[in-house]
Assembly symmetry: C2
């Protein structure tokens, strides 16, 4: 891949693709106007291989370039229940306050930084990330204030020729809104994976499953994923 070459008429955009529902719908939004360069990161999640497979399928669906990177250095053993398999399965307690046990410190900053490095080289002007402030679970690096600060870090920390804008189309949507948007854009939601605990049948009990199921209920649609229990 050479410097700023863009062979098609659609501008390149980098999309952070976890393999989950939110990033899939984000890719669907980005794909309306851009050629997609998807970045997927492994950092030792409990369901890492399932998520990587999901990201691969979604990227293929959109004819995107996909890069898989290893970000396992951001996790120190024992620091997050999302990555520490020696702790019990991730529970669902959407009503609690504060930062959840699945929080991986400053994860989105690491993801965005890697995405900016790539965007600058391929000449992408937009960087899509599927963070959700409203309906999500208290992760500090999913808030608009964080994205605004990081945007300023991009503006001051990249070469002057580079103009890279963070786009977070889901930031103020509910899970129901996101699913509705995904259905409208014919996003391949059946390819995504959300469960924090299992890789074959979704557990239906962790925060991520509960949020997803609540969203489908809100929309009155059927989640295409197989679940262990409801």
């Amino acid at each position: 891949m050479s410097g700023n070459s863009v062979s098609s008429e659609r501008p390149p955009a980098v999309v952070l693709l976890s393999g989950g529902l939110d990033s899939c719908v984000t890719a669907a939004v980005a794909a309306r106007d851009n050629d997609l360069f998807c970045l997927h990161a492994d950092y030792g999640q409990r369901t890492q291989s399932r998520e990587t497979r999901a990201a691969g399928e979604v990227a293929r669906f959109y004819g995107a370039i996909l890069r898989n990177i290893d970000l396992s250095h951001i996790v120190v053993p024992g620091s997050s229940n999302l990555t520490d398999r020696s702790t019990p399965p991730v529970a669902g307690d959407l009503v609690r306050t504060g930062v959840p046990t699945t929080y991986v410190p400053f994860r989105n900053a690491n993801l965005l930084a890697a995405a900016v490095s790539w965007a600058e080289v391929i000449g992408a002007g937009r960087l899509f990330i599927g963070v959700v402030e409203e309906d999500s679970s208290g992760y500090p690096d999913c808030r608009e204030a964080f994205l605004a600060s990081f945007q300023e870090a991009i503006n001051t920390g990249t070469a002057t020729e580079a103009t890279i804008t963070i786009v977070a189309p889901l930031l103020h949507l509910t899970k129901g809104d996101i699913i509705r948007l995904g259905v409208e854009l014919q996003a391949p939601l059946q390819m995504t994976w959300s469960c924090y605990n299992d890789e074959e049948l979704a557990c239906g009990k962790c925060d991520s499953c509960l949020l997803r199921l609540r969203g489908f209920r809100e929309v009155g649609a059927q989640d295409p994923l197989p679940y262990r229990s409801f």
Copy 2:
């Protein structure tokens, strides 16, 4: 390593340690008041193994914990002369303007993000980085404006219990000032490595060698490193 445990009376601080002269002097400053947790990153530099060795020796000198991480994902082949061994050696042309060919896009954001993730887990309140704005060579992510923006991203993107402050003690120093400070603090400058091209004898010709040699000349001191030519 457990959550916030600090066994000694000195607070923990994370220090980004490249193995070069600047980060060594930064470590010397940090070591006056802190227990050091040093983070070293490889990302495919031409002299990577020499730099890793230097970082290891400096960390040992300060009795620090050292983590080596792999950041090679931030580099796309062909995007930087610092990492692309298929291009000619890094030249020295300190008088040019603009961003140098050795620029690795948004490198310091990736380094800082990884350091913040670690700092948050070990409960470190200070994060030392040896960037130099004045005497350095036009890297956008070495400027104070970038650090200020990134600080804001830390403030908004980490858990509220975490208060992590970037400390850049060399930001407005010249290379001569830095060497003077290093000598004053008895920093192990003989353990550091600066050359962009070679691992046994420093080339004496690249930007990094030229800056270093100019600094030692300015101070009237002898650089302890072996050089190929002057």
